[in-house]
Point group: C2
Chain length 308, copies 2
């Protein structure tokens, strides 16, 4: 029986000035999944460990993504999916995206790669829509492509893989509080001033340039979000205190990961990243909130095969 | 008597998705200026040919820019400025920016370069503010630095020079109608929807990436302006007709230069650019409007010395 075991990583979306378009892939945090080819057509989720999630393929992002793919590319076999969750649901680092991307990546491998990795984004997005209520590629794109990704358009899907400067690292703090994506969406205003929008796109354009030129100073100056962060940060305890401590510890920038509650810093080099992790730890411990901290390289490969 | 003769080129600002931040420098169109060092302190504009503009240094962008620079860097000599205008005032291809940038560039050269080219942007901006009512660097940045420039911030000035793909060309059509910048500003709304703003910054980010990777297809897909063009294009006769013809002729994108009335196309290669120029000519002749068309490489050098 043909099967594949994969590592499907966590990711950070809504990177400051790149709200709704810019994300990147993390290295040390991720789920494992086993995808197995079976004789009987159809998709079955046979096991989920580490999280209380539905086995029903219609209600599970991995199942929905897998079925979306097989609807476009019918196979005369079936697939069983086992999910070993390490990424906490609702943490804001792409838990559902990891499952959705993992399912389509694994099935595509077992089928002999009828699709390229870009093509898979569309199917994974359909899985994502079960979790968040709308199709978006902010997390599935970096999981599938690795590195930094820019979602220019989702209809049609137009995603660009951007370079990852060699010394760039991320530090992610997950304060274990509940914060629903839906609520984080409601807090957004439908309109923004043209002035702020111009500031935002100037910053995003500069950040993209800085990724190509490895200009860490410019990355830092442009990692600013004047539009979404001022509102969403209100939902995260002591956001400004933690931000100040993290920037003092040498971070290039700090912001909300996805729609929170996780927050992330970008930094140059391992030492600075460890200092930032210490600063986060010290602040969050004072609040008495359970937490996890991940110090991570930018994962330029994305999802990968562990064994087949 | 020390003097310098320079060529100070026209430029295109508000490049589609890069409204207020992205501009580029043109090659064949530009003014000439002579800057002369004199014994007597102060700035004098001694001659203007080709355009009816004030000789009064306080009311002329070149004079204001020159004085802004000398206020920061006092010199125990003076300067005479001669301006030979080729760029039509009010054409939307940076006529005032060429004069402002030319004045500070020339004086800086004669003083032995106390400032680098980036530093000069600030002074040239002060000249620009006389013409448009507010300080902006959209045109002076590409004139001084050459190529494509991104104005991330004007306070403090933070301008990034972007790469110019080797085969990229511009075709500019100047329909000789009067259209005041002030009026073009009034037509803008103060607020935009978050949805459109996201589309815009996704497109701009993709265009920046495409400049680095020389991905002409991506340039074309991302040269879209959903925010400003729909309003300002109403002020330009038959904008949509010309746009359609230009895109049919193979343009990567088409938009308003600055605040109009000039419009520009970007294209790959000389042949396509000439076809685009023909398409523009055919449409504008039907309207019976006087016009000029410039087919131009992206001028990666910017302002230059002709003789000293």
């Amino acid at each position: 029986m043909k099967e594949i075991r994969i590592f499907t990583p966590a990711s950070v979306a809504n990177v400051s000035c790149g709200f709704d378009v810019l994300g990147f892939c993390l290295a040390p945090v991720g789920d494992e999944m086993v995808i197995r080819m079976t004789d009987k057509q159809g998709v079955k989720i046979t096991k989920i460990e580490g999280q209380d999630l539905p086995l029903d393929v219609k209600r599970n992002v991995a199942g929905v993504a897998a079925q979306a793919m097989l609807a476009k590319h019918p196979a005369n076999c079936g697939f069983e999916i086992e999910i070993y969750k390490k990424i906490k649901a609702g943490s804001g680092i792409g838990s559902s995206a990891a499952s959705a991307a993992g399912a389509v990546f694994g099935i595509n491998e077992l089928l002999g790669k009828p699709y390229n990795t870009h093509d898979l984004i569309q199917f994974a997005m359909e899985g994502e829509s079960v979790a968040s209520g709308s199709a978006h590629a902010d997390n599935v794109a970096p999981v599938l492509l690795g590195g930094f990704t820019l979602v220019r358009s989702i209809n049609p899907v137009d995603v660009i893989k951007l370079p990852s400067p060699s010394e760039l690292m991320a530090v992610v703090l997950h304060p274990k509080i509940e914060l629903k994506t839906m609520h984080a969406r409601e807090i957004l205003k439908n309109n923004v001033t043209l002035k702020k929008a111009i500031t935002q796109w100037g910053n995003l354009a500069a950040f993209i340039s800085a990724l190509y030129t490895e200009d860490y100073g410019l990355m830092s100056r442009s990692l600013v979000d004047e539009i979404v962060e001022p509102m969403r940060s209100l939902l995260i305890p002591e956001f400004e205190t933690i931000k100040k401590a993290v920037l003092n510890a040498g971070a290039l920038g700090f912001g909300i990961s996805g729609s929170g509650p996780s927050v992330y810093a970008l930094a140059k080099g391992v030492d600075t990243s460890n200092n930032i992790a210490e600063a986060m730890k010290s602040k969050i411990e004072q609040l008495g909130i359970d937490f996890e901290i991940h110090v991570s390289a930018i994962n330029n490969q994305g999802i990968k095969i562990i064994s087949d």
